[in-house]
């Protein structure tokens, strides 16, 4: 499978066409989609039109975008005009958005070819892509195991060589955790770097769209194309997209990197070993490694499971059967709302709506939501303190390699714990990257996590590239 960088180069110099790259992608999807359940919808017609328009532009000698001809998979919680968008939920039955997310518009403008919508945990709530109304996605590296979640479909699309690039969304680790479990680069950008306009909200103050790729340069290319201020998103950062691709080989010489014990301890032995080996590689490349304890990180999970469900309980109120999606008729409007939501939402979504509603209720707000906000403030302060001393932080992405399908579905707490190392970054609104580094049991990939302050993506990519080179990629 060619990298995105190679496809753009070959499409531009005429060695291949966008249409023929699309054919390859569609063939790869056909070959394994039934087995893995990666794509919920393949937009063959739309993709064909976009590929042909890129090819036509090239044949007319026109300038084409930085992702010209690259097939891209899109997590099915981002709106694309006229294309079914489900969030893997029955409640959005048959809904086709009349508008496209800013990221989709930017992909099209960059010449990329969106090929279809990928499976996810319903409304991005989960860590295994098993909470989908349309069945679980399987890990292409071992189909008895999960690809992680919630962006499991997008991770699997890249891992199965269906598309070189995919978009996911990361609210508490939903890009980095599946990237780790599928052996990919996964990026959670700084909050506000990528517009959320058209991303169907789970927890608005935490959600962020980011790339999956097989290598650092491809990830940087995709992030560069979608980042930058968008006037449709009030929380969007004011600056234009940062230059990332030109900095991937900047290295880490002179950087101070903190190995955070709280982001390693408790993980499987193989995982701990990978992180420590990564520290050695970075040190050998000229970075100074310091060991840090940031005990606040251990509070992240409980704060997250108050804040995210609270926002979700409000964000998901609109699925009431009145305007679009599923409607289950009943005697009056309240009964219709109830019947629709009862039939339309899966168990995990209902669990979180109830948790969130409770946490915001009069008499409980201060003890739960108010308290969680304070923890979030502590988390931001803890990161800020760490970044006064070091440039970047290092830890594990997940406590273990990909686990078996069904092994955690009956134990929500065990499932929640797989995000314990990724959640702090979302609470702080900072950036982090998961880089495949080493393997664990059954030769399954391990993800090492690099964390940085807001807008440190270029530095994170440069550090990730150092690890990538050490792995011979």
């Amino acid at each position: 499978m060619k990298t995105a960088e190679e496809i753009v180069r070959d499409v531009r110099n005429g060695a291949t066409t966008a249409s023929s790259e699309l054919d390859d992608a569609l063939l790869a999807i056909k070959a394994r989609n039934d087995e893995l359940n990666v794509f919920l919808y393949v937009d063959e017609e739309g993709a064909r039109r976009q590929a042909e328009s890129v090819d036509a532009a090239i044949s007319r000698g026109e300038e084409v975008g930085p992702l010209a001809g690259v097939p891209v998979a899109i997590k099915d919680n981002m709106c694309q005009r006229g294309v079914p968008t489900t969030c893997s939920s029955r409640i959005l039955d048959a809904w086709r958005p009349p508008y496209s997310a800013t990221v989709v518009e930017r992909l099209l403008a960059a010449g990329a070819v969106p090929v279809g919508k990928t499976n996810l945990d319903e409304f991005a709530m989960g860590s295994s892509t098993e909470n989908s109304a349309f069945g679980p996605t399987r890990n292409p590296l071992d189909p008895t195991r999960v690809p992680g979640g919630s962006s499991g479909g997008s991770a699997a699309a890249v891992a199965a060589d269906m598309t070189p690039l995919a978009l996911g969304s990361d609210t508490g680790g939903s890009i980095r955790q599946p990237a780790a479990l599928c052996g990919l680069i996964g990026v959670k950008p700084t909050y506000g770097l990528v517009s959320r306009y058209g991303l169907i909200a789970f927890a608005s103050s935490l959600d962020q769209i980011g790339p999956f790729a097989k290598n650092v340069t491809d990830a940087a290319m995709l992030l560069e194309a979608i980042a930058g201020h968008d006037e449709m998103d009030s929380t969007s950062l004011p600056e234009p997209a940062p230059a990332l691709v030109t900095h991937v080989n900047d290295g880490v010489a002179g950087k101070r990197i903190g190995l955070v014990r709280d982001l390693v301890d408790g993980a499987d032995e193989d995982v701990v070993h990978s992180v420590e080996r990564a520290a050695e590689v970075l040190a050998a490349a000229g970075a100074t490694i310091v060991e840090l304890n940031i005990p606040e990180f251990r509070l992240g999970l409980s704060a997250y499971y108050i804040l995210a469900p609270a926002e979700a309980s409000s964000n998901l109120a609109r699925y009431d059967g009145v305007r679009y999606g599923l409607r289950v008729d009943a005697d009056d409007v309240t009964a219709m709302n109830e019947a629709t939501r009862t039939a339309g939402f899966g168990d995990e979504v209902k669990r979180r709506i109830m948790l969130g509603t409770y946490a915001l209720s009069a008499g409980y707000y201060d003890a739960y939501y108010g308290q969680a906000l304070k923890v979030r403030t502590m988390m931001i302060a803890a990161f800020a303190r760490a970044y006064r001393d070091v440039d970047l932080l290092l830890g594990a992405t997940t406590p273990s390699v990909a686990f078996e399908l069904g092994s955690k579905v009956s134990d929500p707490m065990a499932m929640y714990l797989s995000d314990i190392f990724t959640i702090p970054t979302n609470l702080a609104g900072d950036a982090a990257v998961s880089v495949p580094f080493g393997t664990g049991e059954h030769d399954l990939p391990i993800g090492v996590q690099l964390l940085g302050p807001g807008r440190s993506e270029a530095q994170l990519f440069a550090a990730a590239r150092v690890l990538e080179i050490a792995e011979g990629r």
Binding site: N77, T85, P97, Y99, S314, A317, D332, V333, L360
Partner: protein
């Protein structure tokens, strides 16, 4: 209305006003009343999945203008979500301001010199509009409900007064002064019948000096008249209840205009838990000093100031003059009156012509220059034009503009010569000997009789003062 015994009512008003912006509060859809249902809508104001709000800067400016006019402190503010399910609210939450409103504190001075404090004036979005057909006609039990989302996301400011109002008349005066301010700031058109200004009243009663009683909130007050009637009804209801040994339950009550009564909508126990929390899709709103200054600069003087600067020029103003002043201030006609007064015109005459003739033709006011109005008033005052002629000339000015003297000539309303006036008066004296004798004996009322007769005969072309002069000369 006076309350029985020594009971006193305590009233606070919550006024919602739609802001007169070109577009809605969080999207680019037109903010327009009366369009085809569901035509001014987009993903944002329909709350479609994935859509996000972007704050309309003009709405913020109008909210600040209201705050400045009400002497509020403009403060850094945030938006919250007020969560509850209702079909005409597309996100099933309303974006509003909660603990940090844009305008804090302030006051409004009423024409009777009383002062009502303002607690806050905050920004929020409007909902869509439901119509329930068949069955009960209300949401539960209707055959069908239709929703129009054109109003969804229209910017609103909610102005909350302190519990300072002590009578329904004062409540009405407050609402009417506030309405004048909303119109003067350009924030709203103040049309209660179109719902662009909506009022809820919190009413309780107590004995003087006692702590506040339990209050009821009254909704569905669609006119100043209903406001006043509903408050009186509610205060009496509470007094009767208390005097017969009952207690007032805190609840929301619905005013029925036809029945002239309030009835329970929902009790406090049934009240929703709105689960307010910070709206994560919007950032803190911090209007810079420079921005506030620019908004303040652009604001003209408020109605109360304009009213007092006009009244200052009247010596011992009569009730009639004061009524005219209200009309003139409401409609912003005082520059005409000031111009006429500058030219030493008679105040009553200038006020009458402005509050009647100019007010009637307000939509074509642009045709009437200040000097044309002043000349017309002075021509009437000097007797060169009769009252009827003066009104006709103003009508023509409003219709086509121009110069009053030329218009008067072209309409043939030149004054009767004094010779023909004298001969008309002479013949009328001859024809009405009894009346003339009574006038000569000192009955001044008869002057009006003769003026009427002269006007009739001359088709309004005579000047009343000259008729009186002629009568006196012959007495």
């Amino acid at each position: 209305m006076t309350l029985p015994g020594d009971w006193e009512m305590v009233v606070g008003l919550e006024v919602h006003t739609e802001l007169k912006t070109a577009t809605k509060m969080f999207c680019g859809c037109a903010n327009k009343f009366g369009a085809e249902p569901n035509t001014n809508v987009c993903p944002v104001c329909l709350g479609l999945p994935g859509s996000l709000p972007v704050l309309n800067v003009r709405a913020v400016e109008l909210a600040m203008a209201i705050g400045i006019a009400l002497h509020s402190t403009i403060a850094p503010s945030t938006f919250h979500r007020k969560n509850y399910f209702y079909p005409d609210m597309p996100k099933d939450f309303q974006i509003s301001q909660y603990d940090l409103p844009i305008n804090k504190g302030g006051y409004l001075d009423l024409p009777d010199a009383s002062r009502v404090s303002i607690e806050r004036a905050h920004l929020e979005e409007d909902t869509g509009k439901s119509t329930h057909l068949g069955g009960t006609g209300r949401i539960h039990g209707a055959d069908r409900s239709l929703v129009d989302y054109n109003r969804s996301g229209v910017p609103l400011v909610e102005i909350v007064s302190g519990p300072d109002i002590r009578s329904s008349a004062q409540a009405r005066a407050y609402a009417s002064s506030l309405r004048a301010i909303l119109i003067a700031t350009g924030a709203s058109d103040g049309r209660m019948e179109e719902g662009s200004m909506r009022i809820d009243a919190n009413v309780s009663v107590r004995k003087p000096g006692a702590p506040f009683g339990t209050r009821c909130e009254i909704k569905n007050l669609n006119s100043l008249r209903s406001l006043q009637r509903a408050i009186d009804f509610e205060a009496l209801r509470q007094i009767e209840l208390l005097e017969s040994g009952g207690t007032v339950r805190q609840e929301t009550r619905h005013w029925d205009e036809n029945l002239g009564a309030t009835s329970t909508m929902r009790s406090k126990e049934e009240a929703e838990d709105y689960r307010y929390f910070r709206e994560p899709d919007l950032v803190e709103l911090v209007p810079s000093d420079e921005w506030q200054h620019r908004v303040a600069e652009a604001l003209g003087p408020m109605p109360s100031e304009r009213r007092s600067s006009l009244i200052e020029r009247l010596s011992a103003p009569s009730e009639t003059q004061l009524d005219a002043v209200e009309v003139v201030i409401d409609l912003g006609l005082e520059t005409y009156v000031h111009a006429a007064l500058d030219a030493n015109a008679d105040a009553s005459l200038a006020l009458a012509r402005a509050s009647n003739e100019l007010a009637a033709g307000i939509e074509s006011l642009g045709n009437v220059s200040l000097s044309a109005f002043t000349s017309t008033v002075l021509l009437e005052q000097s007797g060169a034009l009769s009252a009827t002629q003066s009104k006709t000339v103003l009508g023509e000015l409003l219709r086509v503009g121009g110069d009053p003297v030329t218009i008067a000539k072209s309409l043939g309303c030149e004054q009767l010569s004094s010779d023909s006036l004298a001969s008309t008066v002479a013949s009328l004296i001859e024809e009405n000997p009894d009346e003339w004798e009574r006038f000569r004996a000192g009955d001044e009322k008869l002057a009006q009789f003769f003026i009427g007769q002269v006007m009739k005969r001359t088709k309004g072309q005579a000047n009343g003062k000259q008729v009186i002069a002629e009568l006196h000369a012959r007495r």
